[in-house]
């Protein structure tokens, strides 16, 4: 056999393998086993005088049709259709060395996150007495180990690592060096916005420094959704664990409340931040994405809710009672609507034509905007009457940011439904807008305390 033929055969086998790989009934080790068989068969046929091309064709043909093969594999390994969750399914494969190393890194990062929240305690800071300190620093315990995990996993360049570390440092210095009183509005605002700002810094590490790329940003958006779902699931499990711990130890007269409050809860939550990220990373190809599924389910329901509210508002004749809290509720409503939009976009095949779901989405976005515009109008008149406070400014700013996003999204969606624009325009608008969130979050953290003189 000439080397040319060898190469040709190798590429044919590689092609065949990639075809097999698409069958989720077949694992990598199954493909290894079948490939070994294929090579034996080819070798024998070639020895018998056939051309390698011919041998390859006959060997593949004798292997049987892929459909039949995967059906048989599926019948034997029905468990594979239920995706294997925690450990890599191919226990015999040599790839486990790499995944074991990854598991080790994850454990180190998770332990680092869990211990980080106990470090201040060594300096005499108590959870209940120094609650303010923990509130404003909350993001600084778990997110640096999380960013470190991504820096390791993505083999991030030193320059990017320095940038990420630098941004964390800026955040840490800002929240602790500013002399904001703990009962002030800016203190609370910082505690809320720093995690958001630093989460986007984690995004820089996630994208391996390639944060300008639309695709990487969309990946990070997807990651965020899945991470949140895993985190909530772990939190639910943690809740059950905590409940059992406290009840069964109580039975034998041991009070576990201090242990739970000081160790189990804070350390567990911090470690869960890293573990959730690892689960999303390890399972992104394995498990169906949950966020888009929930989005599909709740988009119509939220649309009905908003339309019903819009219809009921003039009918009751009661104007919206204009309190600051109401503005925050409507901010959250816009966040939910934006989330529904975002996760529908993240899972949508941008090439497919506009459908019913896109119209429902447009209805959702437009009705949310209408409601918000009414509320906003009332609020603005109120603010001009009473003046700006940090809280009102933040709530108003967020409302404007979200409203702008939704308004332009609605326009793009409409153009898309009418067939005048490609869906990717909407995608690009959303991924581009992430920068606005970053700028806003950092503004609230860094500028607000100064602008409002730590009020």
């Amino acid at each position: 056999m000439t080397t040319y033929e060898d190469e040709r055969l190798e590429s044919q086998i590689a092609e065949w393998r990639s075809y097999m790989r698409r069958r989720r009934e077949l694992t990598d080790t199954d493909s290894d086993e079948l490939e070994d068989h294929l090579r034996d068969q080819i070798a024998e046929l070639t020895e018998a005088g056939l051309h390698t091309d011919e041998s390859f064709l006959i060997a593949v043909k004798r292997m049987g049709s892929v459909d039949e093969l995967s059906r048989e594999f599926a019948r034997e390994h029905s468990d594979r259709l239920w995706k294997q969750l925690v450990m890599p399914p191919d226990a015999g494969a040599p790839t486990t060395a790499a995944s074991r190393r990854e598991l080790l890194v994850v454990i180190v990062c998770a332990v680092a996150a869990a211990l980080a929240i106990k470090v201040p305690a060594a300096f005499g800071l108590d959870f209940s007495d120094d609650a303010g300190f923990y509130q404003r620093n909350l993001a600084l315990f778990a997110l640096p180990p999380l960013a470190a995990y991504f820096c390791w996993r993505r083999r991030v360049r030193p320059g990017v690592i320095a940038t990420v570390a630098g941004l964390f440092l800026v955040g840490a210095v800002a929240v602790n060096a500013y002399p904001t009183p703990e009962d002030s509005q800016t203190h609370v605002l910082t505690a809320i916005h720093l995690p958001l700002a630093l989460w986007l810094v984690v995004g820089v590490a996630y994208a391996a420094g390639d944060w300008r790329s639309d695709r990487r940003r969309m990946d990070f958006i997807r990651f965020t959704g899945e991470w949140f779902i895993y985190f909530v699931l772990i939190a639910l499990g943690g809740g059950v664990l905590t409940a059992f711990t406290s009840v069964i130890f109580n039975e034998i007269g041991i009070d576990t409340a201090p242990l739970i409050e000081n160790w189990l809860l804070p350390c567990g939550a911090m470690a869960a931040v890293v573990v959730s990220a690892w689960l999303v990373e390890a399972k992104q190809s394995v498990i169906e994405n949950m966020a888009p599924v929930l989005t599909r389910l709740f988009t119509p329901l939220f649309t009905v809710l908003l339309l019903a509210f819009l219809a009921a508002m003039p009918w009751t004749g009661v104007g919206v009672d204009i309190e600051r809290d109401i503005l925050i509720v409507f901010d959250l409503l816009l966040v939910v609507v934006l989330g529904l939009l975002l996760y529908a976009i993240s899972a949508r095949d941008s090439a497919s034509p506009p459908g019913m779901f896109d119209r429902v989405q447009l209805a959702l976005v437009v009705s949310a905007m209408l409601i918000d515009a009414i509320v906003l109008f009332a609020i603005v008149s109120r603010i001009t009457e009473w003046g700006f406070t940090p809280n009102k400014t933040a709530a108003l700013g967020e409302n404007l940011i979200l409203l702008t996003n939704l308004a332009w999204s609605a326009w793009l969606l409409l153009q898309f439904i009418r067939g005048r624009m490609r869906f990717t325009a909407l995608e690009r608008w959303q991924t581009g807008y992430v920068s606005v969130y970053a700028v806003w979050a950092w503004t609230v953290v860094l500028v607000f305390p100064l602008a409002f003189e730590f009020a």
Partner: protein
């Protein structure tokens, strides 16, 4: 000669276990051996051997391990377990019973078919 699918399927397990009872082997060699033993008359779709081997492994009749036969490739070898040997013996007993019964029935049919005083034929 074409052998009905059901028969091929039914004989697959005792056949594979029998071959593995001779010596440890791997997929391709097992198929070669089947072809050799049947004089090429028993034909399988090659790929379908593997789900069968995996099923036998799950049932505990065989165990598998990866070895490298050299040349940088990895090959999965199968070895029969004690439980597999017990199963093989049981299946052998069943098959022997079936074969013997068939044999007797057909010999009886042959001899009675030749006889004009067959009780079945008397009615027709």
């Amino acid at each position: 000669m074409h052998i009905a699918k059901d028969l091929v399927a039914a004989s697959a397990t005792p056949l594979v276990l029998g071959i593995l009872a001779e010596e440890d082997s791997y997929g391709y060699a097992i198929l070669k051996r089947i072809s050799e033993l049947s004089g090429g008359r028993l034909e399988w779709s090659d790929g379908l051997l593997y789900p069968l081997l995996h099923r036998l492994e799950r049932l505990g009749y065989v165990e598998s391990s990866w070895h490298s036969p050299g040349n940088g490739r990895r090959r999965k070898y199968y070895r029969i377990t004690d439980q597999g040997r017990t199963e093989l013996a049981a299946q052998q007993a069943q098959w022997t019973t079936i074969v013997d019964t068939l044999h007797d029935a057909w010999r009886a049919a042959k001899s009675s078919g030749a006889s004009p005083t067959s009780p079945l034929r008397a009615h027709s």
